[in-house]
Amino acid sequence: MDVSPLVWVVVAVAIILAVLLAVLVIQRRRRAGGVVVVGGAADADAAPEHREES
């Protein structure tokens, strides 16, 4: 069965757009920021005086 060249073009464009969209989504997630807390209760015991000075 012959497939019209136009179909191949549409399929190729769709694949390219899907890849671009995936890259953009991944990149957006990589760049997304948070409010990150580091350290734990062990640190709290070690340096409780840090904030009391303020």
């Binding site: 990149q27 990589r30 760049r31 997304a32 920021g33 948070g34 409010v35 990150v36 807390v37 580091v38 350290g39 734990g40 209760a41 062990a42 640190d43 709290a44 015991d45 070690a46 340096a47 409780p48 840090h50 904030r51 009391e52 303020s54």
Partner: protein, 193 residues
């Protein structure tokens, strides 16, 4: 004079040297579980396709945090991330994002879910409160309110625990929140001494 701002307002801010060079974008705001002081920022490379950088910006190295940019003296102030988060991150809850965490009082009452963290910008950066999506009982469900934190804050585990008295000092906006934080902390100090 100190300024209060939401931590999420810093996401994506460009880091600019006093020489005018744009060297990075702010990614994460990193704060220390013990004491609640802001350690600094992790960074993204500039541009849409720029990924996370290995270097970070410490609070001590800042020139100033403005509404549109984070100012630094020059690009040499960036340091490797292990120099900032290595020791602290290895202990307990390392690298946890508090956005979305539940807030409980010391007497076991759930107040809501964290949607932002309030930072006091002055010589040092201090975490002074949470913005939470309130549960029914504190305010009408889903309303955002500001909850003050003690100056001897310690964070660990999956839940964020605050003193029960914090409920009495809840504010609706940043305008009066600084005074609420001060009153709350004064009450804690006088009540425990």
């Amino acid at each position: 004079m100190s300024t209060l701002l939401r931590a999420t307002e810093l996401h994506g801010l460009v880091v600019v040297t006093l020489g005018g060079d744009e060297i990075a974008d702010v990614k994460d705001v990193v704060w220390r579980a013990a004491g609640g002081s802001v350690l600094g920022f992790t960074l993204n490379k500039r541009g849409l396709f720029g990924g996370p950088m290995k270097e970070v910006l410490t609070w001590a190295a800042l020139h100033w945090v403005g509404p549109d940019a984070v100012m630094v003296p020059d690009a040499t102030v960036l340091v490797h991330r292990d120099d900032v988060t290595g020791a602290g991150g290895a202990a307990g809850r390392g690298g946890g994002d508090v956005i979305g965490d539940d807030v409980l009082t010391e007497d076991g009452r759930r107040l809501g879910r964290v949607v932002d963290v309030i930072i006091e910008v002055e010589a040092s950066g201090d975490v002074v409160g949470y913005e939470i999506e309130a549960d029914e009982g504190l305010r009408s469900g889903g309303q955002r309110v500001l909850l003050p934190l003690p100056d001897t804050l310690a964070v660990s585990g999956e839940k964020l625990i605050v003193p029960a008295a914090a409920v009495d000092f809840v504010a609706d906006d940043l305008a009066g929140f600084g005074a609420a934080v001060e009153q709350f902390r004064t009450q804690l100090r006088t009540g425990t001494s």
